[in-house]
Symmetry: C2
Subunit: 380 residues, 2 copies
């Protein structure tokens, strides 16, 4: 008799859309839900500096690829923190921002959650706040902060997409402060929301200036195009250096149990780029290029839908930031696109706009028009 | 008031010996406890094929470094399983050996432990059996199996070092079987114990042939010299393919939460080498080279101790396999070496013999002699 007799097949959490797409043999099939940014040739985007740096590192005889400390690669952690907060920022100058090198953002959340599970025993309530789950990224307006209990944790993803006014930010922070809510931010692709690295992490400054302590997961895999290696940090901001060191020492023990040494191939490439002003400049330009292309694609999609006379307003397409945005289609329209037109998009209609290029934009916009007209007809 | 007020500084688990060594400014100081194999020039050993392959991969325009599946790199998993069990072995042919690509052996144990915590609820007792903790690797003789409860888990590390006879193996397996003990093996550096890849994993065949189901962590970082990236798998052997798929599906959900996508830079290099017969041959030769050097160094150390007239028998040095072996010194002698001679070795006297080379062997053997004579004198 097997040891594993009672083990059931686990339910798959995701991937079925991609699987269905792969099994489809229609010549016009297309997949608009890739997680990575794509080039206009339909290939995963990689920042131009990455290939060069990868070769340089491979050929560098002085590198020995020895074990890293449990904390990870020091220079990588520092470069990542500088990118998040600014080299001359208050928290960096006061030595109260630190980090642990993690296996991407999953690793950062795993590590942070283990810490909070142990050291935040008074409140084990967590709210996952992600603009990905809300059609227009305006997540805070409908959240009803008064219902969030004292001392809970807010995991705040993709906050860069939230269009809050200065007044709304202030109001939000006053509420969080009075309730002693602990923020755990997620910065999955700094620079790929607005094309401006500083702009994408500016909200962190607000929290720092209001005296918040917080965690922040920063992943650098997407904005460098090193998708196959989760390169990130769990950043910690504490009120002073002594508190910071205590938190980091605890995190280190969990990191030891989780992966002992974080992987460094991606981190080494990223650090080389960030520490070389010329290469950092080239990287920033490549980020701007991606964001400009996304905006251009969105404009084109909107314009084509207008020319096709597609019913409804499509302004929301260009109002959203970042590569992944909502088309604003209902489930019936999405189903029409998938089933009738072989255009694979998630149920919520949030697609990766970098998957749209000059070869497929006409088919896509015409299909959207068809889907909208079809569902309008069926409503009658 | 800080959120982190109650968080204490975590106790450091390791690293203090290396730290003391680094702070020592004595000209003759040396560190004999590195985890990695060293070359005769005192540099971390890297298999010669690794550098070549790293450059080839960096320059390959067809690679796109896209996200891997949660399970990891399929070709890497298969190549690792073939290495563990043999391409034409029973378990591979019957599709009942599988694996999940992990972040090194720490990741494999983390993943395996989470599975067992959930699916082996009847017995949550685990025994950690490691020859590293026993002077001569003969761990099973003194273990008293009769005391191990029914259904417990044995985590068996470095079993390659255990010199069990065929009869002892049989006896061990009969006992484990009757008590339904679940084995969780650790193969941290296949090929670096005896220089023969098959020899180092032969004991797995015994367990397979006796109808055991088990987990096995296999790390390929050390035997390729890619220390800065934990490249490994958690191998699973089940009674049939259906059971295997159920176990793998559960493991995949934990892997998703732990790191989402395992790092692939190391795995890609290793797979390239393993799937190319010429490169695999070169790799095997490089492993044999390391093991031959270790044996030669041990012989030389023993011979020098003999010539110096050091009291005691030193045969145990050459009787042990692998780069890391016990010198057989007591704590007073170890302390003498560290404090008086600036030779840094762990308290148990288990050193990395690849740290000994033609430049330091005389100083080391003379110091050992001094330490032994000093403690003999102080006994009088």
């Amino acid at each position: 008799m097997s040891v594993f007799t009672d083990v059931p097949l686990a339910q798959k959490l995701e991937g079925s859309l991609l699987k269905t797409y792969k099994q489809d043999d229609h010549p016009n099939k297309m997949f608009l839900a890739y997680k990575v940014c794509m080039t206009s040739q339909g290939q995963p985007w990689v920042s131009s500096v990455v290939r060069k740096t990868r070769t340089q590192i491979a050929q560098d005889p002085s590198l020995n690829f020895e074990y890293m400390p449990v904390m990870g690669m020091k220079s990588f952690i520092q470069a990542s923190l500088n990118l998040l907060f600014g080299k001359n920022s208050q928290v960096i100058m006061e030595n109260r921002a630190g980090g642990v090198h993690t296996v991407g953002d999953s690793g950062a959340f795993q590590l942070g959650a283990q810490f909070l599970k142990t050291w935040r025993r008074d409140s084990q309530i967590v709210y996952i706040i992600s603009s990905q789950k809300e059609p227009h990224g305006l997540v805070f307006q409908d959240m009803g902060f008064t219902r969030a209990p004292h001392g809970c944790i807010f995991v705040i993803g993709n906050i860069g997409n939230c269009k809050l006014t200065q007044g709304q930010w202030t109001q939000l922070m006053v509420l969080m402060k009075s309730k002693q809510i602990f923020p755990f931010f997620d910065i999955p692709y700094q620079g790929l929301a607005t094309g401006d690295l500083e702009e994408d992490s500016r909200f962190l400054q607000y929290f720092v200036s209001q005296g918040f302590e917080f965690f922040c997961s920063q992943s650098l895999s997407k904005n460098f195009g090193i998708y196959d290696e989760g390169a990130g940090i769990l950043a910690v901001v504490a009120l002073n250096n002594q508190l910071l060191l205590r938190v980091l020492s605890q995190l280190m023990n969990w990191a030891r149990a989780l992966w002992l040494n974080p992987p460094t191939a991606g981190a080494r490439i990223i650090t080389s780029v960030l520490c070389n002003p010329a290469m950092q400049g080239e990287w920033k330009q490549s980020l701007e290029g991606v964001v400009e292309n996304v905006m251009m694609t969105k404009e084109k999609v909107k314009e084509k839908l207008r020319l096709l006379g597609t019913p409804g307003s499509w302004d929301h397409i260009t109002e959203q930031k970042g590569s992944h945005s909502y088309l604003g289609l209902n489930s019936q329209q999405v189903e029409y696109l998938v089933k009738k037109k072989h255009i694979y998009i998630p149920k919520n209609g949030r697609i990766n706009f970098t998957c749209i290029n000059s070869y497929n934009i006409d088919y896509i916009t015409e299909s959207i028009t068809e889907a909208v007209l079809f569902t309008k007809d069926s409503e009658k």
